[in-house]
């Protein structure tokens, strides 16, 4: 199976990597970890480079977690800039993923919505199965 983890640097994504990552995936499972920096006005002042650097470090550390759990699996990381749901769905389509794993919420947390906007958008248009990871009791 080809498993795409759509992550950000929130605890929800960490939890998704730990829980779904620790399932008994067969040795030929391929993992991709994608983090998307949403476009903002700051793209013109160069401050995005610092943020992209942080996101890259974040996906690398998530990759290390998966690598420890599945030493022989193929793991790729990617940081893209754009609208999160579009980037995730195009990568899923282009790569032919079998499963998209996404946290129920992200950076903005649980404040207003029962389900985060990215998870919701992915559910509506996903070309494959989607696992929405929720922290029980949170």
């Amino acid at each position: 199976m080809k498993v795409l983890f759509a992550v950000d640097d929130s605890k929800f994504s960490d939890y998704a990597i730990e829980t779904v990552g620790s399932r008994p995936w067969p040795v030929d499972t391929e993992f991709r970890i994608l983090s998307v920096l949403e476009l903002s006005r700051s793209e013109f002042d160069g401050s995005d480079t610092a943020v992209i650097g942080k996101l890259k470090a974040d996906v690398e550390s998530k990759a290390k977690v998966l690598e420890t759990l599945h030493p022989s699996a193929r793991i790729e990381v990617k940081v893209l800039q754009g609208r999160a749901k579009d980037a995730i769905l195009s990568l899923a389509e282009e790569w032919g993923s079998d499963l998209i794993v996404v946290g129920s919420h992200g950076r903005r947390g649980l404040q207003k919505f029962l389900l985060g906007s990215v998870a919701e958008s992915i559910l509506v248009q996903s070309p494959c199965a989607v696992e929405v990871v929720r922290i029980k009791g949170a």
Partner: protein, 157 residues
């Protein structure tokens, strides 16, 4: 790990079964197959409709629902020998009943198809995922053409 598998439509049995066979379940795991029966909705003058007329339809729906759940449950028992698989049939609105079951049973995961006969554009799956107390896996299922839906509309005069 307790996994609630919500099945509404007999056409989804094979799709859900196939997906579940691919997925790497941790051990121990147990599956509960849930089917929610839609109550018979009656529109009649002054709501005076004798029960014998609606009872027959309700009985048909219950029988059909039990068959769907049983079909998937048997597939799972065959594919996962030694893993507990039980069946649950409840009556009510699918969206709310599934969520209630997740809480009552203290499920760790709910698995369901994206589309069914009822509901528009996956509204049941989206509502369940939004209100679910636990993680959810939504498996893509072909949306049914409304014209080809085999749902019977009963007219009682």
């Amino acid at each position: 790990m307790k996994v609630l598998v919500a099945i509404q439509d007999e056409k989804c049995v094979d799709v859900l079964g196939a997906y579940m066979r691919k997925y790497p379940w941790p051990t121990p795991v147990e599956f509960r197959v849930l089917h929610v029966i839609h109550p018979v909705r009656v529109n009649s003058y002054m709501s005076l409709l004798p029960a014998p007329l609606t009872d027959n339809i309700a009985a048909q729906r219950k029988k059909a629902g039990e068959a769907v759940a049983k079909q998937l449950a048997e597939q799972l028992r065959e594919s996962f020998p030694g893993i507990p698989v039980d069946e649950q049939i409840v009556e009510g609105e699918a969206k709310s009943e599934i969520v209630d079951q997740l809480t009552d049973w203290n499920a760790d995961l709910v698995l369901l198809g994206s589309h069914g006969k009822h509901g528009l554009m996956g509204s049941v799956s989206r509502t369940v995922v939004a209100h679910s107390p636990c993680s959810a896996i939504v498996v893509p299922v072909q949306a049914h053409d409304r014209k080809s839906s085999k749902e019977k509309i009963h007219i009682i005069i």
